[in-house]
């Protein structure tokens, strides 16, 4: 009796284990998401019910915003995008794994340019031509083209932003100074700040490896914007004189001590230093204004934006553009509902929420007055963009991912060992030689 009971128990346990694994496996999206599944099943029977679709993003601080969007769209059109926030470090692998299966997210935040290209090439992105045909009028010209590959639009914009230099009002007020008009004046001011014990440039790698490319990009395109484009597309080399010149300028700035200590963090330390007048500049995309405000800085009172002058005439009128796209997984089972959601997303209600919660402007529904009232610094920046018609793609997504990842590591080394600049360039050039043929580019 006892013995039989024992074997029975052990067998049951083992079988239970195997079954629980198998059962959980058969459930899409994992066993911990039964609500999602149920909701979409019911929706098939009763169309009146809210359809739920999956939305992936990589910023936990945006979770509240996405939830608010989900509620709004559920109310407006009966489609709720249920957000999941993943950590940046595992986000890409997670999305890639899911995209190849029927668990593919219906909406996910990605990067444009070459970072979208690899997914597109593998046939994992849905064609959003029909959505764009309906809502294209809501976006400024050029956006659709920027989010298309071979003429096929694969995304709607989430954030459209420019790369500028945030500066400390406290520093400029204290010394009663004007923003520099020429590159030389800019360098003189940095030298002056150094003499006063103020850090000139906040571009550090304390907790973030990716930020190392920023100053390289900012210097290079100010030397020659067309060259920057050629370099990004594999038509110029990392050992060309333009790049070497950029590296030399960067090296000099580093060696003269214009940079903040490298272990400072851009989320906590730099905002505090800007506010207290210990740091003059921090180059970032305009989304950094949101981080500054979160850390208690007030636009136009504590910080403003500045666009450094070009180094040579060939760098005139150029600015870096960053678009974060929202893409749809081709293998997603809810693609139709997702397209419905995208049409809603391009309209006024969604644009308003996006503006109120995140201060993002990506379509034409937000008026100039609104921007001026909500974020005068951003309004000022957008105003200045008239003088910068030449929009360049950010380094992060402008060139093949393998080159970017390698270069970003090399630039990290540059920040702590500026004297090694030529070795680092040779290394990147080597990598570029290795990578470009995979993209059918003769290099």
């Amino acid at each position: 009796m006892g013995k039989k009971f024992a074997y029975l128990l052990i067998f049951t346990l083992s079988i239970l284990l195997v079954f629980s694994v198998a059962f959980a496996g058969s459930q899409k999206g994992g066993s911990e998401q039964p609500e999602t599944k149920k909701a979409s099943e019911q929706s098939v029977e009763k169309p009146a019910k809210v359809v739920e679709i999956k939305l992936y993003h990589d910023n936990p601080e945006w979770q509240d915003f996405w939830q608010a969007m989900g509620e709004a769209s559920a109310k407006d059109i009966g489609v709720r995008a249920v957000p999941t926030a993943f950590e940046t470090q595992v986000y890409k692998s997670r999305v890639k794994v899911d995209l190849t299966t029927s668990r593919a997210p219906s909406v996910f935040k990605w990067w444009f340019g070459y970072r979208a290209y690899e997914l597109f090439k593998a046939g994992l992105l849905a064609d959003l031509s029909d959505v764009w045909a309906d809502v294209g009028k809501n976006y400024p010209p050029g956006i659709k083209e920027a989010l298309s590959i071979n003429g096929v639009p694969y995304a709607l914009p989430f954030n459209v932003g420019y790369w500028v230099w945030f500066y400390s009002k406290a520093v400029y007020k204290k010394y009663n100074m004007q923003l520099p008009k020429t590159w030389d004046e800019f360098m003189q001011q940095l030298a002056f700040f150094k003499s006063k014990g103020i850090y000139g440039i906040g571009n550090t790698i304390g907790k973030s490896r990716w930020t190392s490319f920023i100053v390289f990009q900012e210097i290079l395109y100010r030397i020659d914007a067309d060259f920057y484009v050629r370099l990004m597309n594999g038509k110029a080399h990392y050992t060309d004189p333009e790049v070497v010149r950029a590296m030399k300028i960067w090296k000099e700035m580093l060696e003269k001590g214009y940079f903040a200590p490298m272990d400072a963090t851009y989320v906590e330390d730099l905002p505090r230093m800007l506010k207290e007048g210990k740091l003059a500049f921090a180059p970032f995309g305009d989304w950094y204004g949101g981080i500054l405000q979160q850390q208690g800085l007030v636009p136009e009172k504590d910080y403003g934006v500045f666009i450094p002058p070009p180094i040579t005439p060939k760098g005139k009128g150029a600015i870096i553009l960053e678009i974060s796209p929202l893409c749809a997984g081709k293998n997603s089972p809810d693609l139709e509902a997702a397209k419905k959601w995208y049409r809603w997303y391009a309209e006024k209600h969604a644009a308003q929420i996006l503006w109120e919660k995140l201060k993002f402007v990506n379509n034409l529904h937000i008026t100039q007055e609104q921007i001026k009232k909500g974020d005068p610094t951003l309004a000022h920046e957008l105003d200045m963009m008239k003088n910068y018609p030449n929009k360049l793609i950010r380094f992060w997504e402008a060139t093949p991912v393998e080159i970017v990842e390698y270069a970003v590591d090399a630039f990290n080394t540059m920040l702590v060992h500026p004297d090694q600049y030529m070795d680092l360039l040779n290394g990147i050039e080597q990598k570029a030689k290795e990578v470009w043929p995979k993209y059918n580019v003769k290099y």
Binding site: P261, M262, E405
Partner: protein, 305 residues
């Protein structure tokens, strides 16, 4: 278990009335099944799969492709990975010197000192924290922006430069953090070992004219061997796969400067999507661990009874 309890259990069994029935030996294996299932799922099948992936090229979104041993060639030729190999070696040697050797030295110091319990407790406290917490705590302590140590030194007019982004010293600083954390456990283990050493042979040797150093080297060290083997093997196994501290403190940076093999594995597979290369690194880590702990495992796995 006390003798009384033992008798009670025996009596309890005596009261049970069952027919003696022979069960075939094979059936007893049933007791092993749950353990085997779990170990198969979590460890043995993954080991085989990783070994297989080590010979493939795979980026998750496209199907895997066989590439022979080219991943292994990369592990030993790609400069970043060679650097990781070198850092791992630093970790192994550095922890042997500080977390093990120095702990033995302090244990000997402590063994004839009053107030031993207090010192022992102080050194043991960090062992109760996880490596993640230790890394967070030390990052805060060393940060040039509102860090505890630089702020303290600034009071004395000393300007401390950032240490974690200094590629010449950051690995050694982090070895120091590891030492801070695991020194205490090693110390207590050595103390336990020292306490079990009988006094007579040491005293006899001293009477025969040996000095303290000789007594230590020729009598205490050999008697400490079992504990030494344990501590050293543990140290080797843990540092060859070092991940937590360099990851949480500086993500193996700046760039890839302080990467260990375990961090390279993580970066190559989950950030750069070279799953095959990552698997090859895992196999290399396994082989190194096997070599380093061969003796220890043989002792653990040997038949007893």
């Amino acid at each position: 278990m006390s003798a009384a309890a033992f008798v009670t259990v025996n009596q309890g069994i005596g009261k049970m009335k069952f027919n003696v029935k022979k069960v075939k030996g094979g059936v007893d294996t049933v007791f092993l099944i749950p353990a085997i299932i779990f170990v198969l799922i979590a460890e043995l099948v993954p080991v085989i799969y990783t070994t297989y992936l080590g010979f493939m090229q795979w980026d998750i979104i496209n199907p895997p492709k066989f590439v022979g041993i080219s991943n292994y060639i990369k592990v030993f030729t790609q400069p970043e990975l060679l650097n990781a190999l070198k850092n791992t070696l630093y970790w192994v040697v550095g922890t042997l010197i500080f977390a093990v050797g120095f702990a033995l030295f302090v244990a000997v110091l402590l063994s004839n000192v009053k107030g031993r319990v207090i010192f022992k407790s102080i050194f043991f406290i960090p062992s109760t924290l996880s490596p993640t917490v230790a890394a967070i705590v030390w990052r805060r302590t060393l940060s040039s922006q509102m860090g505890a140590l630089p702020s303290l030194l600034a009071l004395f007019g000393i300007n401390m430069h950032p240490v974690l982004t200094n590629t010449h010293i950051n690995t050694f600083v982090m070895i120091g953090v590891w030492t801070w954390q695991f020194f205490g456990i090693n110390l207590i283990l050595f103390l336990v070992g020292l306490e079990t050493i009988p006094r007579e042979p040491v005293e006899a040797a001293m009477i025969d004219g040996a000095n303290e150093r000789q007594a230590f080297l020729y009598i205490i060290v050999p008697l400490l061997r079992p504990i030494m083997l344990l501590v050293i093997a543990n140290s080797l196994i843990n540092t060859i796969r070092m991940f937590d501290i360099p990851w949480v403190m500086i993500q193996g940076g700046p760039g890839r400067a302080s990467e260990t093999l375990a961090i390279s594995l993580y970066r190559e597979s989950f950030l750069l999507f070279k799953m095959g290369l990552g698997s090859a690194i895992a196999v290399v880590i396994s082989i190194l661990t096997l070599i380093a702990s061969y003796r220890y495992i043989m002792i653990l796995g040997r038949k007893r009874g």
